[in-house]
Each structure stands twice: as structure tokens, then as C-alpha cells.
Symmetry: C2
Subunit: 340 residues, 2 copies
DNA sequence: CTGAAAGCGCTTACAG
DNA sequence: CTGAAAGCGCTTACAG
């Protein structure tokens, strides 16, 4: 391995100080440096293939220009797209991203954060798994800049960038009501995650507003670990009760995919026999026979806002807290429209 | 922001040298250090919440224990799964992953590599975009350890971890032949990427071996940038020629998805009217009415092998070159089986 | 068993 | 306009 060229090498060859080399190569103090000397330094740096050592710089300035990105699960396309946007946006601000997938485990998430703290990232963007409250408030206590994205915990007074899950779900439910469906079921994940409970709440609020009494009777919450079987069962129950449902609202894309597979196997036609709305997009909808109505999250805006907020937070001494809420969009397709 | 505790702080409080603190906290020289002193150091470190500064360590040892991961496109689920596996595997070896998405641009890829080199990553795992040959041989010339994954360039004598694309495609084609289909079309991307041309070559070789003369007549190669329209056109041509095809082999999952959408819109039934095999999995197949036969790449093995190879390469002075080829698996489902 | 010291490659007040 | 010097937080031969 060839030795890397350092500023010192350049300085020695030219008989100048490393200070000067540093100033020139960083474009600082340009007006008070001899043009000739500056040019010589630049040429030699180019010639020797000088690459700045960011590690040394980080140590000196006590900043790494690095963001730690903790995702609940990178293999989820939603998370992957977000990762890409965040990386892009970070680069615009000269930041680099180190990422880790917490696999929905608070323990793994803590482990990751510990590792990345050793590596002195300047701050974190976190899609937190269930049970992270303690970890997050400890981060806050240590004055480590971070921003929660997608998931959040209302009791924690921290930076967040999220969508209005309540509003989006209410809107989706209202859309179904407007289409003339009154018996609307919802299948959601049973989890202590605010963004999910907000979705259930939005659904129920819309039903209440429409004058329905037992607004929770058609809401089914399934366990993540037993998801497939419970989704099937939930659908069966909703369809076979005294007042069968006319529409289903799925709380996320994975639930929707399993649900649609099951519905097709029952030979139930969409939208003729049953209307469908899903939270979140999925590539998979493309190959379903009926175009699916879904709630689209503004991914690019979410990612960009998170990076912007984090960088502001890194720059500020007083830790003010910011909560950014973005609106999702209901993309209406055939699956939710009353068959004419 | 609280000041971070350093080894020096601990040393001063205890009246010992930082050297001793370093040895104890790294578990070195354990047999020749006073147990009491060691215990005191450990306790105080714990009490003060000492976190090692990896940046300083990296500077000193001239290693960052960091891998740069360059993916052609992170928003592709294939890449995202790979990223997760690589991150996991790297962590087992105490390595951290910094990633970047090159978005299929050689220029962006070069930019990313430059950035990550400044950050002194120890090596790279790269899924290279078209046109990267020059960049890669320059990396090789600079003795920077790297491993190509998925994509590779046969003329470059560098480390690779790939699947046997030729073999997998031949196997898929043979499977269709065995099912009794003789007129088999293939739709592939037109690109100067070895892993893609190998897929075409495998398809043609299987046809030749089966005694077919003009083995390229049913091979359609489409441009990435005009993919949707060209896939539609290719399918139309293959179906409307004098000897219409009985089966289509898609060269990757994105082609397959567009193709299946178009085939459904033509009211062509799978597998009754047309058999289908696809290269690569996709979540989307789940919602297609007919289970799809596809070639599954051994993602976990690919990722693990790449990390292992890279770390060996980082450790070795003499840069020996290793080419690891893994076999893919044909998952046979209804879409490719002759309707009985 | 332990410490003094050099040095990794930078940045940045300070002095001239 | 330019240089000498300190220092970021570690590791590691070396000396005792």
C-alpha cells in the first residue's frame, strides 16, 4: 500500500508550513496569501494525488459531518427509499450517512446508536422501534442531536418529522363513506406505536363523525409475529358477521398484501364485492388485477425535512424542539369506487 | 453540550497514565496489570460514561474499521436486502458500513468513492454501474481493497462475488424446454453489463443445445430509459410473429413486472396461453393471480461472501484476487408449467 | 507492573 | 503574507 500524501509532505517539498497548505487547500484566507505560493501548493497537491484525511480533520474540529441513520427495517421498500433520499439530501450539506437497521428491536437499536456514537456521528435520524422511549430520552439528556422520522412518541419532547396519520386515515375513511359504504372494516397492527394508533383513531373518528355508534366494532388489530394467520382470520370474521363489511381499510402495506392474497383466494371481487383502501404504497399493487386506492406518504419531503432539521439542531446550542407534520395524499383508484 | 470524557480525564482522576487506561479499557496486557488498578479504571470509566473516541483511534491506527458500500440503486429491494445483510455481517467483524447509492451513474459512483476515500474507509463493496471500468482499475492501481458484488467486468482482474448468471439462465430455459415449449422468447435489458449479457448467453446456449438454429431470433433487448414502451412492443412482436412464442423469460424483475402488466391487459392467460419465468424475485409477484416461476439469488450468501472476501483482502498485503461464483436457484411455480 | 513520550494528519489562534 | 506551535484523543514501542 502506497503511503498517503499528507499536507506535511506537500509543505516539506515546497519549503512552506503545513498551516499554509491547510489554508490554501481549504480556500481560506485567500485574499492574504501569495497567489504564486497558493498555485504551487494546489499544483503539487494535484500532482501527488493528495486526498484530505477526513479522520484527522474530524478529530481536530470535533465534528465528523456524519449522520447516523437508524431505520426500523431497511429491507422495507419504504425505508429504503427514505434512506436514499436522506443520503442525497445529506450529501448536499456535505454530510455522509452511516446507517443501521434495527430490525424492529429496541435492543439492537440501542446497540447501533452506541456504536455510531463511538464513531462520533454529529447526530441521528431515527425511525424508532417499539419500546425505545427510554433510549431516546437518554439521548436527549446527553444533548445528542437527533430527529425522529415516521415513528414518534408523543410524550417525548423531541424533534420529529412525521405525517399526519390521524388526518390521512380519517380522509381515507371519509372517502369510503362518500362512496356509499357504511360498513367499513379496518385491519391494523397491534403495537404501541403512535403512528399506528393514530391511524386507528382517525378511522374511528371519521365513523363517529358520520354518526356511527359502535365505531370500533369493525376494527381488527393483529399481532406482527402472527400476522398472516391473523389477517386471514380478521377478514373472515369481518365478512361473516351479521352485518358484513363492504370495505376494508388496511393500516399498512404488508397487511394489505396479505389481505389481498387472502381475499383473492376467497374469490371475492374487488371492488364489486368489497372495496379496498391501503395505507402506504407498494410495488406489489402493480400486479393486482384491480388498481388499489392508497395513502401516499410524501417520502422526499419527509427525508429532506429530517435532514434539514437535524443539521439545524446540530448547529444550535439551545436545543429547541421542532415537530414537523406533513400531509399524506389519498390516491384514489378503482379498488375503492362503488361498482356502477 | 457536555464535554466528552477522555482517557486522559480518567487517568488524571486516578493519577495513572493514559497508557494504562488504554491498555485496561482495551483488555490488553491483562496478565501484567494490577487487578486493583484495572478495576478502578473500569469502574471510573463506567461511572463517567466513558465512550471511546473511534475517530482518534482510527487516526492513530490508520484504520477505520469502516466499509464503503456503493449500490447501483438502494431503492431496488434487491439492493436493500443486500445492504441489510452486508451491514449485519460487517458488524460481526466490528466493521461499520457507510453507504451510497450511485443511481446507475458511473459519475456519481466516482464521486461517492472519492468522498468515502477521504473518510478513509478500509475498503469498498461495489455494485458497479455501466461504464465503471476505468474507475475500478484506478482503484486497483491505488491498491485500495474492494470487492465487486452482483455486477462485474470480466476484463478486470479484481475480487468479485457474483452468481452464475449463464448457468441460471440456461437452467431456466431448459426448464421451459422440458415443459414442452419450443418457441421461447427472452426480454432482457440492453446494457453493457456482463451479468446481463451472461443471462442472454445462457438462454441462447440452452436453445442451441436443444438443437434450435436461430437461437437469437426471439431475444429482445430493451433500453432502460424507454423500458415500459419497449417491453410492451417486444411482447407484441413476439406474440404476433409467424411462429408466436409459447413462453417468455424475463431478464430481471422490473422487466417482468412491466411485462406481466401488459400481458394481463392483453387478456392473455398465464400459464394457459403463455408460460413465464423471471430472473429475480419481487414482492410484486405475490399479488399476481398466477404464482410466478423465478430465479432466486442467494442474497445472504452473496452479502456474507463479499464481506468476508473484503476483510481478508484488507488484511492481506499481497493483493491476490478471488472470484467467487454462487449458484442461483430456480423456484418452479405454476406460471411455467404446461397447462394440463 | 507502570509512565513518559512520540506521533497519527489535520486546524487555528497567535506572533511577527 | 507566513511560520511555529499547540492540541484533538487515542495507541504503542520503549524504558525502567
Amino acid at each position: 500500500m502506497k503511503k498517503n500524501v499528507s499536507m506535511k509532505d506537500i509543505a516539506q517539498r515546497l519549503g512552506v508550513s503545513t498551516a499554509l497548505v491547510s489554508y490554501v487547500l481549504n480556500g481560506q484566507l485567500e485574499d492574504r496569501i501569495n497567489k504564486d505560493t497558493a498555485q504551487k501548493i494546489k499544483s503539487l497537491a494535484e500532482e501527488l494525488g493528495y486526498r484530505p484525511n477526513h479522520v484527522a480533520k474530524s478529530l481536530k474540529i470535533n465534528k465528523t459531518l456524519t449522520i447516523g441513520l437508524i431505520l426500523a427495517d431497511i429491507s422495507n421498500p419504504f425505508a429504503a427509499s427514505l434512506a436514499r433520499i436522506i443520503e442525497d439530501e445529506a450529501k448536499k450539506h456535505k454530510y455522509t450517512v452511516i446507517f443501521g437497521s434495527a430490525d424492529e428491536s429496541a435492543h439492537k437499536s440501542e446497540d447501533l446508536i452506541r456504536t455510531l456514537m463511538s464513531r462520533r456521528v454529529d447526530g441521528f435520524i431515527i425511525a424508532a422501534p417499539e419500546g425505545s422511549e427510554e433510549l431516546l430520552s437518554s439521548l436527549k439528556k446527553q444533548d445528542i442531536p437527533f430527529v425522529l422520522i415516521d415513528r414518534y412518541f408523543p410524550e417525548l419532547h423531541v424533534n420529529t418529522v412525521t405525517i399526519n396519520n390521524f388526518q390521512a386515515s380519517a380522509e381515507a375513511t371519509n372517502h369510503l363513506l362518500e362512496q356509499g359504504f357504511s360498513e367499513i372494516g379496518m385491519i391494523n397492527l397491534k403495537a404501541d406505536l403512535f403512528h399506528l394508533t393514530e391511524r386507528s383513531r382517525g378511522y374511528k373518528a371519521a365513523l363517529t363523525q358520520a354518526g356511527q355508534k359502535k365505531e370500533g366494532k369493525n376494527l381488527k388489530e393483529v399481532e406482527e409475529k402472527n400476522m398472516i394467520a391473523e389477517v386471514h382470520q380478521a377478514i373472515n370474521e369481518l365478512l361473516n358477521q351479521p352485518e358484513p363489511i363492504q370495505a376494508i381499510f388496511f393500516g399498512n402495506n404488508n397487511l394489505a398484501i396479505e389481505g389481498l392474497i387472502h381475499i383473492r383466494s376467497l374469490n371475492i371481487r374487488i371492488p364489486e364485492d368489497l372495496a379496498i383502501v391501503c395505507f402506504d404504497e407498494s410495488n406489489a399493487y402493480n400486479l393486482f388485477y384491480c388498481p388499489i386506492t392508497y395513502i401516499r406518504q410524501p417520502l422526499a419531503k419527509l427525508g429532506q425535512a429530517a435532514v434539514k432539521l437535524l443539521i439545524e439542531s446540530i448547529g444550535n446550542q439551545e436545543r429547541s424542539t421542532n415537530n414537523i407534520t406533513l400531509e399524506a395524499e389519498l390516491i384514489i383508484q378503482k379498488s375503492s369506487q362503488k361498482y356502477i
